[in-house]
Amino acid sequence: MELISPTDIAKRNVSSVQDYASLAWRALTNLFARPLYMADAIQQADSIGVGSLPIVVLTGMFTGMVLALNSSNTLERFGSLSLTGQLVAISMVRELGPVLTSLMVAGRNASGMASEIGSMRVTEQIDAMRALGTDPYKKLVTPRVISTVFMMFFLTILSDLVGLIGGYLISFLLLGLDTFQYWNTAYQSLTYNDVVTGLVKPIFFGFIIATVGCYYGMSTRGGTQGVGRATTQAVVAASVLILAVDVVLTQLMLSIK
């Protein structure tokens, strides 16, 4: 096996970060440049948003159910079972809704973007696009960023809602909680900061999913094996980055409470 010097590894990593930052910057600045491929953005929104509905609904539902079950187990010891709705609501809206939805969408779409663009890269379709006078960053990256950010926002709201319904089903059917009590505590417990935090996060996460997926697609090398590698790396990198950015955003939002 060939040994690579630490300097080369460091150089390669710095170069990757630089390339990713450059792609992210171009994706943002292209929002204000013509042409803006809105038809492509709508097509992507359909693929990313509508296509992700089943997994987002299922994830939200089961997460809400598990939250209700776990929290009820603890709350019952303190005689506070009635607070189940509150716990489910805060956990879903502030944290689990945005993060789990993003991880699901990353698994489905960051990989899809990396493999689609990666395949185009290794079959010279990206070069063909440039040769035909079209900027692939405008045509392929920016529409995906627009649609992922836009759809993540609404998918998260849906996931939060379905999670609350899942929690309610468990609370009503298994725990015997009153319907009004569950929804009232859930509603009353949510503050303005909770809702804003829960809605700001998916915007950042959507941006991460699209840019990471496109970055790995655009930098694919080495034929079909390279496409497979890019796909895996895109999901791993997007997931880790989402969780890391989540820490920063949570701290930031708590500090401006």
Binding site: P35, M120, T123, E124, Q125, D127, A128, M129, R130, A131, L132, G133, T134, D135
Partner: protein
């Protein structure tokens, strides 16, 4: 578009008026691998230059450099009077509309049908639908594939894909055409069909062309035949002095140009490497 040439003193002798492409001491390396080492050549307007060489000798790299898809480490490349080595990507998009390229594996957009592939550039320019349809049909008629207009690339054979690639390249009536191994991996009959189309484009539209090939017979066929528009077929030149096919040859070895001249000069060369290559 890049500014008109302001030659440095060393390049003052370069004639960009009558030359479609000029390579001036172009070098390119990838890490430790030298792809091109001081390559210099010229492609006259209306000329077709066949680039020969073994795999890895730098032929396809030259085509990508012409379009600014790659940047050289040193040297200058002038395409239609513009120094592409100093132009920004946005400026290159305009110049690329005057240069068509046929990729080695066609590089058709696999999610688009033949019509949308061929019309890609016209749709990007937001031309009226009627005009796009007429020009797509004209280009497909040229490559005799009008009946495949609604097919997806996956439904086409290798030869048909190359022909669609040619139609996509010529639809804007470019001043220069770049062919990257257009007959690679094709059977002899289909290869002849592709060469006939390239000849047709050369003799009907008088387009300047750089053609990369592994197959010597492709080059010699281009140099020894002309396209007869009346009979819609190619015919041998057979020493007719009026038939100037304007086709020359260039041989690359390890990123260097080791031959640049006519078919006659190539046939009479004494260099042992080239003699072995063409034998």
């Amino acid at each position: 578009m890049g500014s008109p040439l302001q030659f440095p003193s060393a390049a003052a002798a370069l004639d960009t008026i009558h030359k479609a492409i000029i390579f001036d001491e172009v070098s390119l390396c990838f890490e430790d691998l030298v792809l091109l080492d001081g390559v210099s050549f010229e492609l006259k307007k209306g000329e077709t230059k066949v680039m020969l060489g073994v795999a890895g000798s730098g032929k396809s790299t030259i085509l990508k450099l012409c379009l600014g898809l790659l940047r050289p480490d040193s040297g200058h490349i002038y395409v239609l009077g513009h120094d592409v080595t100093t132009m920004k990507e946005e400026e290159l998009f305009d110049l690329r509309s005057k240069v068509g390229i046929v990729f080695q594996e066609s590089a058709l957009f696999d999610s688009l049908n033949v019509r949308d592939n061929v019309a890609f550039r016209l749709m990007e320019e937001k031309l009226p639908e009627d005009e796009i349809e007429a020009r797509v049909r004209e280009a497909l008629r040229f490559v005799e594939l009008e009946n495949a207009i609604d097919k997806l690339p996956s439904e086409l054979s290798g030869g048909m894909r190359r022909r669609v690639g040619i139609a996509r390249a010529i639809i804007t009536h470019p001043e220069i055409l770049l062919y990257d191994s257009p007959t690679g991996g094709l059977d002899p009959i289909t290869s002849t069909t592709i060469i006939e189309l390239i000849m047709k484009q050369r003799d009907v539209s008088k387009t300047s062309a750089l053609l990369v090939s592994h197959r010597l017979q492709d080059g010699f066929m281009l140099a020894s035949h002309y396209y007869d528009p009346v009979a819609n077929t190619m015919r041998p030149v057979d020493g007719r002095p009026m038939r100037d096919v304007r086709t020359s040859f260039m041989v690359l070895r390890d990123g260097k140009v080791i031959f640049d001249g006519t078919a006659h000069e190539l046939a009479g060369i004494q260099d042992p490497y080239i003699k072995e290559y063409i034998s």
